[in-house]
C-alpha cells in the first residue's frame, strides 16, 4: 500500500478535448508515465497519447464465454445420459443438437457477465472514494463538460513546483493540487 498522505497529484483543467490531448501528448513524450486524463465522454485520442493502446476485456469475455459453453453442455450431457436418462420419443440419450441451444444461451450469459464485471474489476471499480474527488473543480466538471489532465505524485518526474510550471505552459483553465 502506498502512503496515503500528502499530494496525490496536480490536476490541470481544460475546456476542449483538443487542448487536453495536446497537453497529454507532450507530457507522455517528455517521459511522464503516471498520468491520466479525465473526460466526460470517451476521448480515444487521449487514451492513445498516454500509451493506453489495448485492454484485456475481450480476453476475459472469451474465457467466460467458453466456460459457460462447457459448463452447460457438460451438465446437459451428464444429466441426460448419466444422472436421469429419459427416453423422449426414442431419441438418443446424448441428443447433442438439442443441447446446443441452452449451451449457446449460457455462452452468451457468461461472456456478457465476464465482460461487464471484468471491465469493472480491471478499472478497479467500485471505488467509492478517490482523492480526485477532493479537488474543488473535479466533480463539477469531469462528468459534465471539462477535460482534466492529472500528473500523479508517484511518478519519478514529479515535483510540485516544476510540474506545476510544466502544466501551466499548456495554458489550462486552472492547475490545482490534489490532496489525499
Amino acid at each position: 500500500m502506498p502512503v496515503r498522505e500528502g499530494i496525490y497529484g496536480l490536476l490541470a483543467e481544460f475546456d476542449t478535448p483538443g487542448e487536453l490531448v495536446a497537453a497529454a501528448k507532450t507530457a507522455y513524450d517528455s517521459g511522464w508515465r503516471r498520468l491520466d486524463c479525465y473526460t466526460p465522454y470517451p476521448v480515444e485520442e487521449a487514451a492513445e497519447v498516454i500509451g493506453f493502446h489495448r485492454n484485456y476485456v475481450p480476453l476475459i469475455c472469451l474465457v467466460g464465454g467458453l466456460m459457460g459453453l462447457a459448463a452447460m453442455f457438460l451438465m446437459e450431457t451428464w444429466v441426460s445420459v448419466f444422472a436421469y436418462p429419459l427416453n423422449i420419443a426414442g431419441r438418443p440419450l446424448f441428443s447433442w443438437p438439442a443441447f446446443i441451444i441452452p449451451a449457446y444461451e449460457w455462452t452468451i450469459l457468461w461472456a456478457g457477465l465476464s465482460a461487464a464485471f471484468g471491465m469493472l474489476a480491471m478499472c478497479g471499480l467500485p471505488t467509492l472514494y478517490h482523492p480526485l474527488f477532493n479537488a474543488p473543480n473535479f466533480r463539477t466538471g469531469a462528468t459534465t463538460d471539462k477535460f482534466f489532465l492529472c500528473l500523479e505524485a508517484n511518478d519519478p518526474k514529479f515535483d510540485v513546483v516544476e510540474s506545476r510550471a510544466f502544466l501551466e505552459s499548456f495554458a489550462p483553465v486552472s492547475v490545482v493540487e490534489v490532496e489525499y
Binding site: G18, K25, T39, P40, E45, Y84, I101, W106, A111, M122
Partner: protein, 473 residues
C-alpha cells in the same frame, strides 16, 4: 452554421448540408445537454402530470395484482383455457411482451454495431422498455405453471427428489433463453448507465441523491483508461446481445414450430417471429417516445429524424412479416397437406376468421401508409400507427395460438376459445405494470444517455493538430 448558401434551408430542424432532419437540434453544449436531461431527475418538483399518469398506471396495475391473487387461490381454471385450446392468453401475452422488448435490444446493440449514431438518444429508454417488457413477459409462463411457488423446479439443481429437467424440450430452452435475456439486458442497461450515474452524483443537490447515485455510479470518474475498457465492454455486450436477441425469439418460435400441429410446424417461424418482434418493439418505442418528448420538452434530442427512422424500420420489418404470412398461405397450398389446407381456410374464414382480418388490417394494410414521408414525420400519425401495429401484433399471436388449436385433426374434438374477465384483467394489468415501471424510470433515472449525446456534439471532436494525431496509430 449555414455553410452552403445554395441550399436555402431556413428550418432549424433540417441539416443545411444534407437537407435531412437533424439527429440533435443545433446549439447544444456539453453543459446544456447535461442540464436538460439531468434536470428531469434532479428537480425536487415532480410535475403534476407525472403523478396523474403514475396514479392511473398503478391503479391498472392493481387489476393485475387482483387477478393474480385470485389465480393463485383458485388455479388456472379461472382462465378460458380448455381442451383443445390449452394455451391461451398467457402464451399470447408472453410472446407479445417479449417481442416488444426486442426492439430495445435492437436499438441498443444492433444499431450500435452498425454505428447508427441517431440511436443514442432513444437507446436508454428503449433498453428500459426491454427490461420492463421482459418483467411482464416472464410473469406469464410463471403464473401459468399452476403452482408458481414451485417455478424454481424449471432450473437444474441437485434435489432430494433426484429428478432433473428434460433438456430436449423447447419449453426448457425458453427458461434459459429468457433468463439469459433478462440478465444480459439488465447488465447492459446498468453498465451503460454508470457514467451517467456519475454525472447525476456530481450534479445532485440533495444529500440523499448524492449518496444513492454515488453508490450506484461505483465511483466512476471518467478516466480515459476506464473509458476505453468501458467502450470495449459495451461493444462486446452489444455483440453478444445481437445473437442473443435473435436466438430468444427463435427459441420462442420453437415452442410452436417443434410441435407437429398444422399452423405451427413450419420452418419460417424463427425469422418471422424475430421480424415481428422488432416490428412491435419499434411500435412500442414510438408509443412511449412521442408522449415523453412532448411532456418533457425533449424535441431537440428526440427529433423527427428518430421518428422518421423508426418508421422506416417498422416498414421494413412489417414487410418481412407480410412475407411470412404469405408464405404460410403458400405452404398451406403447396404442401398438399389436407390438414394444413384446412387450418389455413379455417383461420381465414372459420368462426374466428375475424381475428385474422384484424391482423391483416393492422399489420399489413394500414402500415403501408409508412411509405409516405408525411406519415413518418408527423408525431401524431406515428403515434396512432404505433398503436395500430401493437394491436396487430397482439392479434398475430392470438391467431397463431388460438386458430391453430381450436379445430385440430378430429372434428369430434373441435372446440372454441373464450377468454374470461381474469384473462383480460391480467393482460390489461400488465400494461399498467409496464407503464408504472416506466413512470418510475423517467422520474428517477436519466432517460437519455448524456455521455453518448455529448459524443455526438460537433465540439466533441478533437481538432487534429497534425503532430497531436501522430501517436494515434
Amino acid at each position: 452554421m449555414a455553410t452552403k448558401p445554395e441550399l436555402p434551408v431556413s428550418d432549424p430542424q433540417l441539416d443545411p448540408n444534407t437537407g435531412e432532419f437533424r439527429v440533435i437540434a443545433p446549439g447544444y453544449t456539453f453543459k446544456s445537454v447535461t442540464d436538460v436531461i439531468a434536470r428531469i431527475v434532479l428537480t425536487p418538483h415532480t410535475p403534476v402530470g407525472w403523478f396523474f399518469g403514475f396514479m392511473v398506471a398503478s391503479t391498472i396495475c392493481l387489476i393485475l395484482f387482483t387477478a393474480v391473487t385470485w389465480l393463485f387461490l383458485k388455479g388456472v381454471g379461472i382462465w378460458g383455457l380448455d381442451i383443445p385450446v390449452g394455451w391461451g392468453f398467457a402464451i399470447i401475452n408472453f410472446v407479445w411482451w417479449i417481442g416488444i422488448g426486442h426492439a430495445g435490444t435492437l436499438i441498443s446493440a444492433i444499431l450500435l454495431l452498425f454505428k447508427q449514431q441517431w440511436r443514442n438518444s432513444i437507446n436508454r429508454f428503449a433498453e428500459a422498455m426491454t427490461i420492463f417488457a421482459v418483467v411482464c413477459a416472464g410473469m406469464f409462463p410463471l403464473i401459468h405453471v399452476g403452482r408458481p411457488w414451485l417455478g424454481y423446479w424449471l432450473f437444474p439443481y441437485p434435489n432430494t427428489m433426484n429428478v432433473w429437467p428434460q433438456f430436449r424440450s423447447p419449453l426448457l430452452w425458453d427458461v434459459f433463453a429468457v433468463s439469459t435475456y433478462a440478465t444480459i439486458s439488465v447488465v447492459f442497461w446498468y453498465i451503460g448507465m454508470i457514467p451517467d450515474l456519475g454525472t447525476m452524483r456530481d450534479n445532485a443537490k440533495s444529500k440523499l441523491a448524492q449518496y444513492i447515485f454515488g453508490i450506484f455510479s461505483l465511483g466512476w470518474r471518467g478516466s480515459v483508461r476506464h473509458w476505453m475498457r468501458y467502450e470495449t465492454a459495451s461493444l462486446l455486450l452489444a455483440g453478444l446481445a445481437t445473437p442473443l436477441v435473435l436466438s430468444v425469439h427463435t427459441v420462442i418460435s420453437f415452442d410452436f414450430a417443434v410441435a407437429v400441429l398444422p399452423g405451427w410446424h413450419t420452418t419460417i417461424f424463427p425469422p418471422y417471429f424475430v421480424a415481428g418482434a422488432i416490428y412491435s418493439g419499434f411500435a412500442m418505442v414510438i408509443t412511449l417516445a412521442i408522449p415523453i418528448r412532448k411532456f418533457y420538452h425533449l424535441e431537440g434530442l428526440i427529433t423527427i429524424r428518430h421518428i422518421d427512422n423508426m418508421g422506416k424500420v417498422m416498414l421494413a420489418t412489417g414487410l418481412i412479416v407480410a412475407y411470412g404470412y404469405s408464405m404460410e398461405i403458400f405452404m398451406a397450398w403447396y404442401s398438399a397437406s389436407h390438414w394444413e389446407y384446412f387450418m389455413m381456410w379455417n383461420r381465414m374464414f372459420g368462426p374466428m376468421g375475424w381475428s385474422y382480418w384484424v391482423l391483416i388490417t393492422c399489420n399489413i394494410a394500414l402500415p403501408q401508409l409508412l411509405w409516405l414521408r408525411s406519415t413518418r414525420v408527423s408525431p401524431g400519425k406515428m403515434f396512432i400507427m404505433s398503436l395500430i401495429i401493437n394491436t396487430g401484433m397482439w392479434f398475430e399471436r392470438f391467431v397463431i395460438v388460438v386458430t391453430s388449436l381450436y379445430r385440430d385433426f378430429l372434428p369430434s374434438s373441435w372446440g372454441t376459445y373464450r377468454a374470461t374477465r381474469w384473462d383480460y384483467g391480467t393482460f390489461v394489468g400488465t400494461l399498467g405494470l409496464f407503464t408504472a415501471l416506466f413512470f418510475l424510470f423517467v422520474r428517477f433515472l436519466p432517460m437519455i444517455p448524456m455521455s453518448e449525446i455529448r459524443m455526438m456534439l460537433p465540439q466533441a471532436k478533437v481538432e487534429t493538430e497534425p503532430e497531436a494525431m501522430e501517436a494515434g496509430d
